[in-house]
């Protein structure tokens, strides 16, 4: 009898261990899949060109160098002359692709565009979502479907018409054009997220606020916004990241240094004849820093923000 109990217990422990191992193994795989490219990006940005291109590859820098970052932050427009010819050779590790001086302005452009998109996106979406979720006006469903329908059309199909519209408005090569375009992408999604969040807030709170003397704007400000903080933070992050990472619209709508964003400028470093991987990777690291900092700042809100709308409270 006791032997049987012992066997049973042993089997249970083995099963528990087995399950733990399986979960750990899959978690490790997932981490490698997600974090691997980022780790390689960071590692190679700290290596010289020769170390990056070595076979077999150096997973960790044999000799850490900040030369690539130095090149980015200290570069100025310069012509390659006989004296500075070594800067034309990627193998030296001091190679500066043409347009390298655009990197920091592009960083600034990306940041300002992202910021405007994040702010305007939330401002526009909050009022629209409140109206659709809370005020039972006629045509409410139709409004919602119309907003969502705009996202059914693939971006690629919109590029040429958008370009023509922007050109006619004389907005090509402006950051404003990017802000407006990105808002068209982010606003429908944000409205959708916020509607489902607002609808979870008990209706009685709305009724209480109105009875207490709130106008719609005051009910939104005093009741809905404080209770929707996670969804609002998630929306801000979503809009900023969408704007930060966007490539195809920026490629078409901006063609000068004053308006180009980071993805466009970095992609320009991959050239036909010479490509400095070390420089591109260092630029890549700089490109991921702002979103990572933002994500870390708002981490605790994002988690609850992303599950928002999944469960009907």
């Amino acid at each position: 009898m006791r032997a049987a109990t012992d066997d049973g217990r042993r089997a249970m422990i083995a099963k528990r261990w087995g399950r733990g191992l399986l979960i750990s193994a899959f978690s490790a795989l997932l981490v490698i899949y997600v974090a691997g490219p980022v780790a390689w990006l960071v590692s190679s940005s700290l290596q010289s060109e020769a170390d990056i291109t070595a076979v077999p590859p150096n997973w960790l820098p044999p000799k850490v160098t900040f030369g690539n970052f130095e090149a980015i932050f200290s570069n100025t427009t310069r012509e390659v002359t006989y004296e500075t010819r070594r800067q034309g050779d990627p193998a030296t590790g001091r190679f500066l692709p043409s347009g390298a001086e655009n990197l920091l302005p592009a960083l600034w452009n990306s940041f300002t565009v992202g910021l405007w998109v994040a702010i305007l996106n939330v401002v526009v979406s909050i009022t629209a979502a409140y109206a659709i979720a809370v005020i039972h006006f006629k045509g409410r469903q139709a409004a919602l479907y119309t907003i969502l329908a705009t996202r059914v059309i693939p971006d690629i199909a919109l590029i040429v018409p958008l370009f023509l519209v922007m050109r006619n408005l004389d907005l090509v090569n402006t950051r404003f054009a990017l802000v407006v375009t990105y808002l068209a992408v982010t606003v429908p999604f944000t409205i959708f997220i916020l509607i489902s969040y607002f609808e979870q807030i008990p209706r009685d709170l709305y009724r209480a606020a109105r009875a207490d003397g709130c106008s719609h704007v005051q009910a939104l400000r005093h009741v809905y916004l404080p209770l929707s903080l996670p969804a609002l933070v998630a929306s801000v992050m979503f809009a900023f990241l969408t704007s930060w990472n966007e490539f195809i619209f920026a490629l078409i709508l901006t063609q000068n240094i004053a308006s180009q964003t980071l993805p466009i400028v970095i992609s320009g470093f991959v050239m036909d004849f010479t490509t400095s991987f070390s420089f591109v990777n260092a630029a890549g690291v700089i490109a991921i820093v702002p979103p990572v900092v933002l994500a870390m700042m708002f981490e605790r809100y994002i988690v609850s923000g992303l599950t928002a709308g999944a469960v009907k409270g």
């Binding site: 009685d204 009724r207 209480a208 109105r210 009875a211 003397g213 106008s215 005051q218 005093h222």
Partner: protein, 359 residues
């Protein structure tokens, strides 16, 4: 203080009609209770008075002011909800102060009013807490405080006690009644609980399917229900209903269903011989005596402490009657039923309306 008038108010939700041609006159300082089952339109009516729902037809008046299109925040109302509806991110103090601050009152006056309301409701020690740190009863007190601190002209309550346990409900009920007496404000109260309606109301509006069934004092509604629905909705245990006919006899009109026969009020039933009716008999209106007369057997005894409910089978009719707690009763006992004719209710079998005295 306000008199509220609903004038031909109709409310449609798509193809569904929630309220139909509702005419209602709530007197100044009155405690009006809307009573009815779920879906009868009582909460919709309350929301319409509050301005939280727009109406499809008709008009609403507060005194001489037409408020049909006035938004809720301009109607000088206060509202208390079944779910308490406290702002979860605000402290008790801020919850109560919210309405005053919206009105732009200065902080000294806000402070004084909140503290006085809190004292009245015995929640002064809770002012710093958040709603999630409170019990249900405490939360409802905060909700009451939030409403009364604004000194509204109309107090609206949507089943405020439904989420509380039985004992708390009774004490909160008397608190609300006292508040009404002290404040001298019009109260409109929605409930499906007949005990709340009967104890609190000056007048009760019984509703069903968006229509008013009866609007009268609690006494009239209980003792002279306008139709079978009202009669069935009030009273515990529910009124007994027996279908039968009126027969004219030499001794006066009688209700007849086979061997089950009872003398009925001649003022009501005279000249109605042969009419199909439903007899209504409240459990407490029947007196149980020894065997003889209209007799039957006890089929179930349900002791309730203060009294007993006795199920009987009399001439094939199932009845529930009330007996005193001291009466010793057992299943199978044979007892007879004595009823005063004036205590019986007669409803038309088809229209289900009460047959009233012809005088």
């Amino acid at each position: 203080m306000a008199r509220i008038r609903l004038d031909g108010v109709t409310k449609h939700y798509g193809s569904v009609t929630a309220l139909q041609q509702l005419n209602l006159d709530i007197r100044d300082r009155e405690f009006m209770v809307f009573l009815g089952p779920s879906g009868c339109g009582k909460t919709t009516t309350l929301n319409i008075i509050a301005g939280l729902e727009e109406i499809s037809e008709g008009n609403i008046w507060f005194d001489d002011r037409r408020v049909t299109f006035t938004p809720p925040h301009k109607r000088e109302i206060a509202m208390v909800f079944q779910s308490y509806a406290l702002y979860p991110q605000k402290s008790v103090f801020d919850n109560i102060a919210f309405g005053l601050r919206l009105r732009g009152e200065d902080s000294a006056s806000v402070d004084a009013k909140v503290k006085s309301a809190a004292e009245r409701l015995e929640i002064s020690h809770l002012l710093d807490r958040k709603p999630h740190q409170l019990s249900g009863g405490q939360r409802q007190r905060v909700a009451l405080g939030r409403a009364l601190v604004r000194q509204p002209s109309v107090f609206l309550m949507d089943e405020p006690l439904s989420n509380l346990d039985a004992a708390l409900r009774v004490s909160m009920r008397s608190l609300i009644k006292k508040l009404h007496l002290a404040m001298g404000t019009t109260f409109v109260y929605v409930t499906h609980d007949q005990a709340e309606a009967l104890t609190l109301a000056d007048r009760i509006t019984v509703m069903r399917d968006g229509l008013i069934q009866q609007l009268d004092t609690p006494d009239a509604i209980y003792n002279r229900p306008a139709n079978r629905f009202v009669a069935s909705f009030l009273g515990n245990p529910q009124m007994n209903f027996i279908e039968g006919k009126i027969a004219e006899t030499s001794a006066g009109p009688r209700f007849v269903r086979g061997d089950f026969q009872l003398a009925v009020d001649p003022e009501v039933a005279a000249g109605q011989g042969g009419r199909d009716v439903v007899l209504g008999l409240r459990a407490e209106d029947a007196i149980l005596a020894g065997d003889g007369g209209l007799a039957g057997a006890v089929t179930l005894v349900s002791p309730l402490g203060s009294e007993q409910h006795v199920d009987m089978d009399i001439a094939g009719v199932e009845l529930t009657v009330r007996a005193s707690k001291d009466q010793s009763l057992a299943i199978g006992d044979r007892l007879s039923l004595a009823v005063e004719p004036a205590r019986l209710h007669l409803f038309d079998a088809t229209s289900e309306q009460r047959l009233a005295a012809s005088s």
